[in-house]
């Protein structure tokens, strides 16, 4: 009988060992002195440490996790007897790489019910992390973050635009991030090692703007006591970003046109031309087509700068980005202000989603910065928002305008679905779970404008 018991016990041990060896999770056990007593095959593979080297050593010196010293999960479990499941952290391999892991813990007891040690199982999350990074990268281009289908379409073409030498025209309302987009194009271009020179054409009077752009030679005018390099010269080998291009005078438009055509310019008072290979990116919040029709902007210059056009949508057309942007600004201001704001309350976020954002991303950034002044830690609440936003928000969610709020929500939802489906109305109706005739009726009723080209149009 005894022999039979021994045999059963041996079989059990062999089975347990076989199971431990076959699983893909790392498993090790420790005694009450924190020394490793068993170390399975997966643990060897994940840590890169052989069982022979691991057994008998202190678990913290084998496992080398960020949790070992200050926040050991196994220590907690062995103290209170409660297992911990799925705690995230990292371990360090012998080449100094962080290996992301999730771990779980349990207490080991003998047949008398006394604690004899602990067990830790851990899983290598490197592949999951890589996939997560790849997924996140889809929502990032340079410093620009967006999940909006409108911006996703831009993200797909930005790398190709960046490597081409063509002049880029960036259009968009104030605060949509035109300069950030220009910087992103610069950082992805072959000029990225060169300088990025930005100039706001609307900020300077015409005469000053000319000398700023082209520079001057000594003696070119009274007070020109030495040569001054212009922005075109400074941007050589890099990118010149001209913001508010719609504001420049007709005379300067002619000079600019010449630089864009000839790739050369003459500093004021110079007798010879200077060559430039600066990539030119221009931006405006004006409708240049209208200004061209009105005669305020030269048609030839318009066609010269409108080679590649990037249209940045206003924030009200990509409201799904608000939570992502808020998160990004909170992280930024936590760093800048040494603050510890954890996040934003759901009600406050709803209020931000209901706002129209005439000042776009810049307005949102300013509102978050303002909230940091009033709330250096904890969560951003409605009371930390400016009055005009709260009043506007309360008006829009008040009972008097319930129908308006519903219409706004319907417009937003239908517009986003249309964009997601490349304006194919049948696909949009299917996406929204409604019949196509209902969608057509809603589009008409809500006055949603559709592009001339839609998902049915042949390319």
């Amino acid at each position: 009988m005894k022999r039979h018991d021994n045999h059963t016990s041996d079989t059990k041990t062999t089975t347990t060992d076989a199971i431990l060896e076959s699983i893909s999770d790392g498993v090790f056990t420790v005694d009450l002195e924190w020394r490793i007593t068993s170390f399975n095959r997966a643990a060897e593979e994940i840590t890169g440490i052989s069982r022979k080297d691991a057994i008998g050593r202190l678990c913290s010196e084998v496992f080398r996790s960020n949790m070992c010293q200050t926040d050991c999960a196994l220590r907690k479990t062995m103290k209170n007897g409660k297992p911990i499941i799925g705690r995230s952290g990292y371990i360090i391999d012998e080449a100094g790489n962080r290996i992301p892991i999730s771990l779980s813990t349990a207490v080991l007891k003998n047949s008398d019910g006394n604690m004899v040690g602990g067990a830790e199982t851990f899983r290598d999350l490197s592949e999951v992390e890589t996939l997560r990074h790849e997924l996140e990268a889809r929502f990032h281009v340079g410093e620009i973050v967006s999940r909006s289908p409108l911006m996703q379409r831009l993200f797909e073409v930005i790398p190709a635009i960046a490597i081409s030498p063509s002049t880029v025209l960036i259009t968009g309302e104030t605060g949509t991030g035109k300069e950030l987009m220009a910087r992103t194009i610069h950082s992805l271009s072959k000029h990225s090692k060169g300088p990025f020179i930005a100039l706001n054409c609307g900020a300077l009077p015409d005469s000053l703007l000319e000398s700023e752009l082209f520079g001057y030679k000594v003696g070119a005018f009274t007070g020109a006591t030495k040569d001054k390099a212009g922005r075109f010269a400074l941007a050589n080998g890099g990118t010149l970003f001209l913001d508010e291009i719609g504001e420049i005078s007709p005379a300067l438009q002619v000079r600019l046109l010449r630089v864009l055509q000839e790739r050369s310019f003459e500093p004021l008072g110079a007798t010879s031309s200077v060559q430039t290979d600066a990539r030119i990116i221009v931006a405006t919040n004006r409708d240049l087509t209208e200004r061209t029709k009105a005669g305020a902007f030269r048609e030839d210059l318009y066609y010269r700068i409108n080679v590649v056009r990037v249209e940045l949508p206003p924030l009200r057309r990509r409201k799904e980005d608000i939570p992502l942007l808020v998160e990004q600004f909170i992280a930024k201001f936590n760093r800048l202000h040494y603050a510890t704001v954890r996040g934003i309350s759901p009600e406050t976020l709803s209020l931000l989603m209901a706002h129209d954002w005439p000042g776009n991303v810049r307005e949102l950034e300013n509102i978050i910065e303002r909230a940091f002044v009033l709330c250096p830690d904890g969560s951003i609440e409605i009371r930390h928002l400016p009055d005009e936003l709260i009043l506007h928000g309360s008006r829009s969610i008040g009972p008097a305008s319930l129908q308006d709020a519903r219409f706004q929500m319907e417009i937003q939802t239908i517009q986003t679905a249309l964009e997601r489906n490349s304006f194919n109305r049948l696909a949009t109706a299917r996406d929204l779970g409604m019949h196509k005739t209902t969608l057509f009726r809603k589009i008409k009723q809500l006055g949603i404008s559709l592009p001339e080209k839609d998902g049915r149009s042949k390319q």
Binding site: E44, E45, T47, G48, I49, S50, R51, K52, D53, A54, R57, L58, S60, E61, V62, F63, R64, S65, N66, C68, Q69, T70, I92, D93, E94, A95, G96, N97, R98
Partner: protein, 136 residues
Amino acid sequence: MRTAFSLWNERIAPVFDVARHLWIVDAEDGRIIGQTGRRFSSDDPQERALRLTTLQIEQLVCGAITRSSYEALVERGIRVVSFIAGDLNQVVHAWLADRLKEGELNMPGCNRGKRHGARRYPGRDACVMTSKRTRE
């Protein structure tokens, strides 16, 4: 030479990146001429490297270290002897006698060329982070 040992429970801290305490030893001609303890207040690699520079540390003896922390230290001219494990006194004495390179106090899996893992995981080079002196 002023050397810092990252410390936890009277032993070399297993992970430098999250270690809170340092034991600083000044030595001359193989003899200790002064020693003291200091704390880290940040987990940021750059701030920790700056802290060591401010304390005029020339060499750091530590346990496992991530590449980012290692590079931040080397950039500031600090020599790093990493993946060391053991009781503080034992490690300090081995360091004084220039015996750390012998490998007896290496962390598990870091015995160059001898370990089972070197054959089993041929892509991995054991303890590549034991640095050479970079500031001359």
